[in-house]
């Protein structure tokens, strides 16, 4: 919410100053800095594609509407929306939170140049004659230069403000590794969690139910929760959106120590998708399938759960990924896990039977430590759309070919269709995203609840 307010304030200030001040500047060459463009670029670089597109659209619409306005409504909205989206895609380049530095400036200036060119092209296409080609060719470099000069000042300010609005990154474990955490991490790493080659502890990746506070998550155990008890092997993982205490891919280090004293459970390093060049270890390619690895979790059984019915605490469904409960893999009923890793202990499982299946099923089971809340009993099927990678997988098995190309994994959580009338809308499709959407207010998440499972993960892996 703070992010939304910040974006709105910055955009309105930028529009006002753009029209009253910046366009008045008579710089040599006729170029004028486009403050709105720069602000959109800065917000998108630190906010991601969706936030960037939305911010850009809103800012462009303001610019179109504010007097004197542009003759064609939507012209700048189109340009800035595209630029915002593109800059959002560049977010991994500048880091997260965005680092102020030459990379940021370079990205910003390139984007500004692209934006100016796009705006000029659109103007020429839509209202031919208003700007001649020669004039555009003469004005464009000057405008880009002015943008570059202004961007040196504006971009860092916007990015810093966005960082302030986002608040501190809530990863205490990765930020300050205690000896115990390091030990656990090492153990987790040995169990199959992905370690970063550089050895530098980074933020633990999490697939997390994000906008709804009650959502479960993938890849991280609850901090305050007890170490979940392992369950008999073979169950299919439960992925439950909205139930407070279900998760997948919980702490791998807790594996062998079900009876261990309670402690805060450090995050498991989960990975989704392929690694980036120079980044963490990329996942292996599935043995059989030429297709990209896919993951789908299916609910074990729908009969056992009912909507709104609080169920007693049973470890009926354990982790997917976290607990190396068993070394065995099993294809869950329904849409099985295909061609991907699920679970931090997948490494160990991999050798068991995953390869025959062209991948792995979840190695553990989703676990529920509390009666689920209002959304209990919604089996959710997580299905990848394409290019999905590991969930909590391990380093690639030796001899496997690895991908070098970065990819954006996309997940889709699908409610399993049920026959029982009135229980909920079956077949709704929810998207799993890899990116957080901090700008989305909470009530939007609530609205989306019946579509279930706003699971999202953060990027990258961690580990040391």
């Amino acid at each position: 919410v703070r992010r939304v307010i910040l974006s709105a304030v910055l955009v309105i200030i930028a529009v006002a100053f753009q029209l009253t001040l910046a366009n008045r500047l008579a710089l040599p060459g006729g170029g004028q800095p486009d403050l709105v463009l720069l602000v959109v670029i800065g917000l998108a670089l630190s906010g991601g594609p969706a936030a960037g597109a939305l911010t850009g659209f809103a800012a462009g619409l303001c610019l179109d509407l504010a007097p004197p306005g542009s003759p064609l409504l939507g012209e700048y909205a189109l340009v800035l929306c595209l630029i915002g989206y593109g800059c959002g895609l560049l977010r991994p380049v500048v880091g997260r939170p965005a680092r102020v530095g030459p990379v940021l400036l370079a990205c910003g200036i390139i984007a500004a140049a692209a934006g100016e060119a796009l705006a000029a092209a659109l103007t020429m296409a839509l209202s031919p004659g208003s700007v001649s080609l020669a004039a555009a060719r003469q004005l464009l470099p000057a405008a880009v230069l002015a943008d570059a000069v202004a961007g040196v000042v504006v971009l860092p300010l916007v990015v810093l403000a966005a960082r302030l609005a986002d608040g501190p990154v809530p990863v205490p474990d990765a930020a300050k590794p205690t000896p115990a955490a390091i030990r656990e991490r090492q153990q987790a790493s040995a169990e199959g969690a992905v370690a970063r080659p550089g050895g530098k502890p980074r933020r633990g990746p999490r697939l997390r139910g994000s906008h709804v506070p009650g959502d479960g998550w993938i890849g991280r155990a609850q901090q305050s929760g007890a170490v979940p008890a392992p369950r008999a092997p073979g169950g299919a993982p439960w992925l439950r959106a909205g139930s407070r205490a279900s998760w997948i891919g919980a702490e791998a280090a807790a594996a062998g120590s079900a009876g261990a004293p309670r402690r805060s459970v450090p995050p498991v390093r989960l990975r989704l998708g392929r690694g980036r060049p120079g980044g963490p270890v990329p996942p292996p390619r599935p043995a059989r399938r030429a297709a990209l690895p896919r993951i789908s979790f299916s609910a074990a059984s729908t009969g056992r759960t009912g909507l709104g019915r609080a169920r007693p605490l049973t470890p009926s469904a354990g982790h997917a990924g976290g607990l190396p409960v068993s070394g065995r893999l099993r294809r869950p009923r329904g849409a099985a896990l295909r061609g991907g890793y699920a679970g931090g202990s997948a490494q160990r499982s991999a050798s068991a039977s995953g390869e025959q299946a062209g991948g792995f099923a979840a190695s553990g089971q989703a676990h529920r430590t509390r009666p689920a809340l209002a959304r209990a009993g919604r089996p959710v099927r997580l299905r990848s759309r394409r290019r999905d990678g590991l969930v909590g997988g391990g380093p690639p098995p030796p001899g496997r070919r690895v991908f070098r190309r970065p990819a954006t994994p996309r997940f889709r959580a699908r409610l399993r269709r049920r026959r029982r009338p009135g229980s909920y809308r079956g077949g709704a499709v929810a998207r799993l995203r890899m990116s957080r959407r901090p700008w989305m207010p909470r009530w939007v998440g609530r609205l989306r609840r019946d579509r279930a499972s706003g699971w999202r993960g953060t990027r990258q892996t961690g580990g040391s």
């Binding site: 006002a16 001040l21 504010a66 007097p67 208003s130």
Partner: protein, 298 residues
């Protein structure tokens, strides 16, 4: 997905405003945004000090009452000078004007500005906008507190003009940003046998019902002749009198003059002024000590 939706909306808006520029949805959007952003721009403009919006309202009262009190108003010196020239021009032509400050300048290709006078000040669309030197443009849209002016340099502007000495009729169009020669207008004359020459002055001719352009406003002076005669439409580039780079105080002509001022508002033409030529006359039979007589001629 989100991107797709947003792009679709943007394209839809473009399409709506492209086909029917006066769709009611678009108009109401613009009106709302105009009142919101117009106020914002007035405030921002006052903060940035580029205009003095609050003072103009007070000034207008003073202008109507007593011109001599102008100097007491706390106008910046340049604004004061511009306003004085504006009033002189308006007085010469018999135009009744509403003074306003330029508070915002358009973005991108089109050449438009926003001024801080609107419907509340009696401004209506299609009124002529002038400054102390000459024609600035035309009011194209009006909100409650602000109005949008399309400048003469916009490529969509067409102004009917009359050449000062010859009386030839033609029209000038803007060339957009950074056309051939920054800020120059393009003149075309109807009479194909007309001979254009550098330094000729242009005034507006009367539009139908004097809208959007009242007659007699100085437009500019021919700075370069492109084609001349020989069966072709004579074309020339015109340097406008108004300084579009430093627009600050403008006047919107709210009532047309009672009679056509014709060329009376024009500044003295450089070519019409008699150039002094020096003739040295030496009488052969005169005494050597006689002083040569200087005879101004021309």
């Amino acid at each position: 997905m989100l991107l797709g939706v947003l792009l679709a909306i943007a394209l839809g808006l473009i399409a709506v405003s492209y086909t029917g520029g006066s769709s009611s949805v678009v108009r109401s959007l613009r009106t709302t945004a105009g009142s919101v952003f117009g106020g914002l721009e007035r405030a921002a403009s006052a903060v940035t000090g580029s205009g003095s919006s609050g003072q103009v309202a007070a000034l207008q009262r003073q202008v109507i009452q007593l011109r001599s009190e102008l100097s007491q108003a706390r106008l910046s010196r340049s604004d004061y000078a511009q306003l004085r020239r504006l009033l002189q021009l308006a007085g010469k032509g018999g135009y009744r004007i509403e003074a306003a400050n330029v508070i915002a300048i358009g973005q991108g290709g089109q050449q438009t500005v926003t001024v801080d006078a609107g419907r509340a000040d009696g401004i209506r669309p299609q009124e002529t906008v002038i400054d102390g030197q000459g024609l600035v443009g035309e009011v194209i849209s009006v909100s409650a507190q602000t109005a949008t002016v399309q400048l003469g340099t916009d490529s969509g502007t067409v102004v009917g003009v009359r050449l000062a000495p010859s009386g030839d009729v033609g029209w000038v169009t803007g060339q957009g940003p950074g056309g051939s020669g920054p800020g120059l207008l393009r003149l075309q004359v109807l009479n194909t046998s007309a001979r254009l020459s550098q330094g000729e002055q242009l005034v507006t001719t009367a539009s139908v019902n004097d809208r959007p352009y009242v007659p007699g406003v100085p437009v500019g002076v021919i700075s370069k002749v492109v084609t001349n005669g020989a069966g072709l439409t004579p074309v020339a580039l015109v340097r406008p009198y108004a300084d579009y780079a430093t627009l600050a105080v403008v006047g919107i002509v709210v009532a047309r003059p009672h009679h056509n001022p014709r060329y009376s508002v024009l500044p003295p033409s450089p070519s019409a002024r008699p150039t002094p030529t020096v003739t040295v006359t030496v009488t052969p039979g005169a005494s050597p000590g006689a002083t040569p007589t200087l005879t101004p001629g021309g």
